[in-house]
Amino acid sequence: MTRESFLNAVLMGFLLVVPLAAWALDEPFIITLTTRAVIFAIAGVGLNLALGFGGLVSFGHAAFFGLGGYAMGILAYHAQTYTPLMDWPFVIEGTKSMLVIWPVAIVASGLAALAIGALSLRTSGVYFIMITLAFGQMFFYFTISWSAYGGEDGLSIYVRNSFPGLNTMDPIQFFAICYGVLVLVLAGVQRLAHASFGLALRAARQNEERLQAVGQVPYRLYLTAFAISGAITGLAGALFADLNRFVSPSMLSWQTSGEIMVFVILGGVGRVYGPVAGAALFILLEHTLGGLSPYWHVYLGAILLGVVLFARGGIFGLLAGREVAHD
């Protein structure tokens, strides 16, 4: 067992033990807090695919997070008001089932990422950051002015959406769902990282010229990674909206994009489980420092500065050393 996989196990164990202990001690708030961390982790794992593996610094991932949120919000809103989503040329009803909402969130945000990526990936470096930010803001202002779905006030959902066999309003059961999704997403990304696609994608990040010299086109790899990345972040968005039973334009704000990026950088760029560590630490800091001062972001900023200046590899770089080649 490498140090990295040991760290992965500790991390996942920690995220499991904390809410179980809180459940035993009847502390639902802690469970909800951990659920938040788990959902943020999923969003971060999504972004990491683009940022960590592809080197694509997207500053617009809040758009996908928000799209996932609105996919859930809109479907659930129509279900709870018993109005169809559209009635011409055929009727589409709303739904309260997570198993329908998730695929919708994944497809919607994946397609949006495909379109945004196809345009943005014609640029690189700072321009790529700026153009993804611009697309993110475009979606943000669109939701603000979308009065049919609450505009600036957002949409509230009375009860959480349903999952077969579980009571999703029970914090620990909803946590279990999110944790399960995280495990599946991590397993998928882990496989992908070790597959042909992962090898080629990470080579493109290191050296585009090299990839072209072996007959492959970086753009196609980047675009595919960006679409998958957006889809995963969208799924996280659907869960996040479900957790809060609320979706609003703030999910699409550029601060959200920045926070998702912070999870990745804190945890360790390009490490599969990095964003899990980053999101967990972020929530921990938010909870502890947030209790000390409403200006806790100052301390977060200092920590982030420290990581960027002295511990480039983030938590994983610090604790697990540099990445070991996997055969």
């Binding site: 496989r191 992908l192 070790h194 597959a195 042909s196 696609f197 992962g198 090898l199 080629a200 990470r202 080579a203 290191q206 050296n207 010229e209 090299r210 990839l211 072209q212 010299a213 072996v214 007959g215 492959q216 086109v217 196609r220 790899l221 595919t224 990445e323 080649a325 996997h326 055969d327």
Partner: protein, 250 residues
Amino acid sequence: MTDPILKVRGLTKSFGGLVATRDVDLDLHAGEIHALIGPNGAGKSTLVQLISGALRPDTGSVHFDGQDVSALTTAARARKGMARTFQISSLAMEYTVLQNVVLGALGRRGDVFRFFNRVMKDQQLLEVADKALAQVGLQDVRAFRTSDLSHGQRRQLEVAVALTMEPKAFLMDEPMAGLGAEGSQQLQGFLDQLRHQAPILLIEHDMDAVFALADRISVLVYGEIIATGTVDEIRGNPAVREAYLGESAE
């Protein structure tokens, strides 16, 4: 004589008012090492980029293996078997030696859009990769991280990756650059053998190596090929002596 593997005709490229490549004709035949020499700023790098597809010429054509590849991208040309090594080692530095050669084999095979296979356990790719590593003598460091390799080993690895591409021709941009005397000697012996696998277009500054290896030499001056011929012909060519060696032909 059979058709050349690589046939360059009338290649011209200018940047603004500067003509970097002027009406270049160049052939590379099976089994030969064709060296391209020229003083600094002669346009050697531009010519290599035009041939590999990194730059588009203003006029002229590049034929490779009997096909007109003028309109193809670098990647497409590479897939046709145009294997390039770079002046400054261009490898995935975070990868192991083995990962770099497997990447080459994978790029050649072309199925990069597989998401759930285990690429480093793919026997077919590993076989190609290990064969290439053995040929350049890097099998003992296959698990090393590329950034930990010596400069000479990186050069060897570049050649190994090129070998995984089932090359029909090599395009080598100063493979000897930065190698010590011993390293150059070693690589020279290796390239001498390699020409029988696929012909080499060799851009090189090391004159001893060029004169020892080349079957033919083309001399590029101010973007123009002023002479092509055997080693002896080039050595005795007064125009070459004047332009390249900086001596006045008396």
